[in-house]
């Protein structure tokens, strides 16, 4: 595992803790299909939340959220639908969220955007 991947892993871990602290239940992590990966899948009050986590070490490349492109969003929608059909989940409310984990100077700041896609 290279440095980039380990930073990503670390960010996903922090995001999972962040969600758990706020009452979410993590039901799946790094779920993969042929077309990609969903970082976190959680549920809260009967609603399923698909989460894209972006982690950055320093802000030299802009805000982590800026790395989430329209193509990425379209892929997330497809993946969410794939996941639901595979798990035979229907008639349930879903939501797509984004979480940014910004590491700078040994401090970690987490931002959570709900219903972004």
């Amino acid at each position: 595992m290279n440095l980039r991947q380990s930073i990503g892993r670390y960010g996903e871990e922090r995001a999972a803790i962040y969600l758990r602290d706020r009452g979410y239940e993590i039901i799946d992590r790094n779920w993969r299909s042929s077309s990609g990966e969903i970082d976190l899948i959680a549920s809260l009050n009967g609603r399923i939340v698909f989460v894209e986590v972006k982690t950055r070490n320093g802000s030299g490349f802009g805000h982590p959220f800026e790395a989430i492109t329209p193509e990425k969003i379209a892929r997330m929608r497809r993946l969410a639908a794939d996941w639901c059909s595979l798990k035979q989940v229907s008639g349930i409310k879903v939501r797509l969220d984004a979480i940014s984990v910004l590491i700078s100077g040994g401090r970690v700041s987490i931002e959570h955007l709900k219903q972004v896609f």
Partner: protein, 521 residues
């Protein structure tokens, strides 16, 4: 979600509309949406604002930013909105106090490094905003001198975005944003001109004609062979005109501000010398009259507003342009209709046209040296159409300077009472006199007074008017020509400090009108 407001001004011609800029930051993935009828250069504002904010140390939030320019129906163009857009966003992001931002109008283009760059139209924008009741402005530092011509408003000059942010945060004293006042906004009372009437050798009659034209603001046509000094005479007309008033100087600077891409910068803003524009005859119609694709800009006729428009080799100009001059000559303004709207540019200038007597230029005196066919001579001056010539009060034939004159000049003979400043004083007195006589009318100079008014209210003694009536009866003078003579006679009387027109004035007027000689006149 927070919504903040800032204000700027959109200009069409000299007319401005206050533009309210709303910025909203919503919890969504980062994007920058700009709505409200922006043109291409304004759409690019997004990227300038993003980089400028980053380099000023206050990066835009990693959220969706929506900026709306309203009223949405007013077309907006250019980079003048950059500064206001940046501040609306920063206020919505709570980086600067929204209350402070919304009290000021911000004008200026942003550089990627966060610098505030000069823009055109600051002066007219301020004048328009002041009419709407806005009295506080932040403008680019380079445009500060121009902005300070507006009385009764508070103006700050900004060098960069960081300064403006610090100012709104109250971290910067108000004084820190201002530059050294260049000339404390007051107009210099002297008229400065490099060209002086005393440069002209001889040509007493021509100088006299120019003086009368200056006194009554009469348009003038100078006809004479090459080298007679037509251009020299015309270039010296501004030096004998009374200086611009404060209002006129502001109007002149406002038009200049629109015409230059950086507005009027530094000390150029403040001058009471009347403008002098001398376009070459190859200039395009749009550059002369005003216009441009979609968004109208003032042409040279408007840059000559309150001053002198000199057309050297007038018959060489496009016929279309010469005819287009009739609207500004009649109404003192140019209307430019474009998809973005109608722009109204003032164009009240004193027209000076110069022409050779014929294509070869030698048809003077006996005309023996002229090689042109009679038809060519006729066609040449006929390019100046009747309706145009109708508006020219003075038609003067400039004779080549004689050998005697140059001999005198070589001897160093001084010509008394011939410097520009002395003539300017006479002209000023004449205009005061005319202004007093016309105080109950909408006009202030003789050239603008319609013939009907002259004939009804300023009747001449029958003995004095006799030569004119005679010429009219004999068909040597048209009714319009008659009126022109009356106007010129009054200017002559004003110059000589007479309350009434005497026979000498009428004789001079008939001479200046050029009623005899070239047939087409």
């Amino acid at each position: 979600m927070p919504v903040s407001k800032s204000y700027a001004v959109s200009l069409i011609g000299l007319n401005g509309t206050i533009i309210e800029i709303e910025a909203e930051i919503s919890s969504n993935l980062p994007s920058f949406v700009l709505v409200g009828l922006p043109d291409a250069s304004l759409s690019e504002s997004r990227d300038r604002v993003r980089s400028a904010a980053h380099n000023a140390g206050v990066p835009l939030p990693g959220r969706r930013v929506t900026v709306n320019l309203s009223p949405a129906a007013v077309p907006k163009r250019g980079a003048i909105f950059d500064l206001a857009i940046a501040l609306a966003i920063l206020a919505a992001d709570s980086k600067v106090p929204a209350v402070s931002v919304s009290k000021w109008i911000h004008l200026g283009e942003l550089g990627l490094d966060g610098s505030v760059r000069p823009v055109p139209g600051v002066l007219p924008a301020l004048l328009a905003a002041k009419r709407e009741g806005f009295l506080k402005f932040v403008v680019p530092l380079e445009n500060l001198a121009e902005a300070k011509m507006v009385q009764g408003v508070e103006v700050l000059g900004a060098r960069n975005l960081r300064q403006v942010i610090a100012f709104h945060l109250g971290k910067l004293p108000v004084g820190a944003l201002e530059s050294e006042p260049l000339t404390n906004g007051a107009l210099d009372a002297r008229v400065q001109s490099d060209a002086d009437i005393s440069d002209i050798v001889g040509q007493e009659e021509a100088v006299e004609a120019l003086t009368i034209a200056a006194a009554g603001a009469h348009h003038i046509l100078l006809i004479g062979p090459p080298g007679a000094g037509k251009t020299m005479l015309a270039e010296r007309l501004p030096s004998i005109l009374p200086p611009q008033s404060q209002d006129e100087a502001i109007e002149t600077a406002a038009i200049r501000s629109l015409a230059k891409s950086t507005g009027v910068t530094g000390s150029q803003a403040l001058s009471n010398l009347r403008p002098f524009e001398a376009p070459h005859h190859s200039a395009s119609l749009v550059s002369l009259i005003g216009g441009g694709a979609n968004y109208p800009r003032p042409g040279l006729v408007s840059l000559a507003n309150n001053g002198v428009l000199f057309l050297d080799e007038a018959p060489e100009f496009q016929r279309q342009f010469l005819e287009a001059l009739r609207q500004p000559l009649e109404s003192g303004e140019v209307l430019v209709h474009r998809s973005a709207g109608v722009a109204r540019f003032p164009a009240r200038f004193q027209l000076v046209m110069a022409a050779n007597p014929c294509p070869c230029g030698n048809f003077f005196g006996q005309g023996r040296a002229c090689v042109c066919a009679a038809s060519a001579r006729l066609a040449y001056l006929n390019k100046l159409s009747g309706p145009l010539l109708d508006r020219i009060d003075v038609r003067f034939k400039v004779q080549p300077a004689s050998a005697v004159h140059s001999a005198l000049a070589n001897l160093g003979a001084t010509q008394v009472g011939r410097s520009s400043s002395e003539i300017r004083q006479r002209v000023q007195l004449a205009r005061d006199r005319a202004g007093h006589r016309l105080r109950d009318t909408p006009w202030s100079v003789n050239a603008h007074v319609p013939g009907s008014y002259l004939r009804r209210h300023l009747r001449l003694d029958s003995q004095v008017a006799k030569p004119l009536n005679l010429a009219l009866d004999r068909g040597k003078l048209s009714m319009r020509g008659y009126d022109r003579c009356l106007r010129l006679a009054w200017s002559s009387a004003d110059l000589n400090d007479r309350a009434k027109v005497v026979a000498e004035d009428v004789a001079k007027a008939i001479g200046l009108r050029g009623g005899h000689g070239v047939t087409s006149w």
